[in-house]
């Protein structure tokens, strides 16, 4: 019985000694690194009724040797009236050799990226939800003729539940009209919830848009 007591004391003593050892905390900060650069962003379309009708628009950033933007240019998006177009995103980083396809990277990182597409002018405020591709806060101009274009995203990410991405889209045109298409890529690390607000913009460009 004495042996048992001694053994238990030894065990308890050892346990107390070790559990008394304090647990320190460790902390690390990973230094800033440069994200990939988008030097060219394109939207490419195929008319559902006529596969030979493949309009596109491209926004190009011209950079100096220090990767500062020196100038930009964009092409006009021209779509046929009363048509449905399947759209795909194509983005490049031409500062890398070989040229890096950023849109492939976005696809791999789709769980925290979300594209928004906003036609303007608009005469009524669009319905904003977590499946809406439209940008909240876009000015409504009842006195101007609106751009007759509606947009829906057609792809989903692998979040649970899945959310839309916008690398592929369906553009539906109405009657002939002109305006602009604002195109935004939101980067929402651990914050993507289908809405525009969280995160920051990796891309925010405009295209003159003609529906004829």
């Amino acid at each position: 019985m004495i042996k048992l007591k001694h053994a238990v004391y030894v065990l308890l003593g050892t346990a107390l000694f070790y559990t008394g050892c304090s647990s320190k905390s460790e902390e690390a900060v990973q230094p800033n690194i440069a994200n990939e650069t988008i030097t060219q962003a394109s939207l490419k379309f195929t008319n559902q009724a006529n596969p030979a009708d493949t309009p596109s628009c491209t926004y190009t950033f011209h950079l100096d040797n220090n990767d500062n933007v020196t100038s930009v240019d964009s092409t006009t998006l021209t779509l046929k009236a009363n048509s449905k177009y399947n759209g795909v995103v194509y983005m490049l980083d031409q500062t890398q050799t070989p040229v890096f396809v950023v849109s492939n990277e976005i696809q791999q990182r789709e769980n925290y990226h979300l594209f928004f597409y906003q036609p303007t002018p608009i005469t009524t405020a669009p319905v904003i939800s977590n499946t809406s591709p439209y940008i909240p806060g876009t000015p409504v101009t009842p006195n101007l003729a609106q751009l007759n274009l509606t947009i829906a995203r057609t792809d989903q990410d692998t979040n649970n539940p899945p959310m839309q991405v916008g690398l592929t889209t369906l553009f539906t045109t109405g009657a002939a009209s002109t305006g602009n298409l604002r195109w935004v890529l939101r980067h929402q690390p651990n914050a993507k919830n289908g809405t525009y607000a969280p995160g920051s913009s990796d891309l925010d460009v405009n295209f003159i848009t003609i529906i004829h």
Binding site: E26, E27, Q30, N32, T158, N190, A191, G199
Partner: protein, 244 residues
């Protein structure tokens, strides 16, 4: 091959010979020693982008202390054995949190990744199982299979903040006090110093498919995400053995 068969036959014959002469006595013992993590539990590699080691445990070599006993069935060489042990498998190192900060920064493609960790792996194993003993006068070899559970008292908490465009997005892997199924096996060598007192060298392996881990503020599926932490340790201990 022939040699191996001859050696095995001789060893088994020797064991049987000794077993026939010696007598089994139920016992208990107290032990302590090193506990070495293995497999994913010991893995301290964050992994590659899109191929993260979700269950890398970053556990360290620590210590184990415990109580153990065996009760022989009708003076045969078979016994029912039980072990209760406490393990400490350390905490994340500075290098580990640096790897996590870099990994999450890359995974979320952000300007800044920050990681901090506190708390240790501390758990209790309770295992029971059959034991067979080979007796050689004062020396006994025990072979044992075990099943039971591992009760976690704590696991390291990992706090992450990914910051992009100056906007912080924090999330965390919390300390776990969950319980999980465990199994293992051991081989002991006991040497009796007196009729009732001896020393015991124990080599023990314990594994668990995993204890549940809770993560908070994980909004999107990206980066390392550990929902279940497998536990596996190899333990080498010395102890005092007491006969009943």
């Amino acid at each position: 091959m022939k040699k191996l068969i001859i050696i095995l036959t001789v060893v088994l014959a020797t064991f049987s010979g000794f077993t026939a002469k010696a007598q089994t006595n139920s016992y208990w013992d107290i032990f302590g020693g090193a506990s070495v993590p293995t497999g994913q539990f010991a893995n301290s590699n964050y992994g590659e982008l899109y191929h993260e080691n979700n269950q890398a445990g970053f556990a360290k070599t620590g210590y184990v202390i415990g109580l153990d006993g065996a009760w022989y069935i009708h003076k045969s060489n078979w016994a029912v054995a039980a072990t209760v042990s406490y393990q400490d498998q350390g905490q994340l190192s500075g290098k580990d949190v640096q790897a996590l900060a870099a990994g999450y920064q890359d995974a979320f493609d952000v300007d800044l990744g920050q990681a901090s960790s506190h708390g240790r792996y501390e758990n209790l194993n309770v295992l029971v199982g059959p034991q067979y003993s080979f007796l050689f006068s004062k020396l006994t070899l025990d072979i044992r299979g075990n099943v039971g559970f591992v009760k976690s008292f704590s696991t390291p908490e990992i706090d992450i903040v990914v910051t992009d465009a100056g906007i912080p997005h924090p999330f965390a892997q919390l300390s776990s006090t969950a319980t999980g199924f465990a199994y293992g096996g051991s081989a002991d060598l006991r040497y009796m110093l007196t009729k009732k007192l001896g020393i015991i060298l124990k080599e023990n392996y314990v594994a668990s498919p995993g204890i549940a881990i809770t993560n908070t503020s994980r909004v999107n599926n990206a980066g390392r995400l550990d929902n279940k932490q497998p536990v596996s340790v190899f333990q080498s201990t010395l102890g005092l053995n007491f006969g009943f």
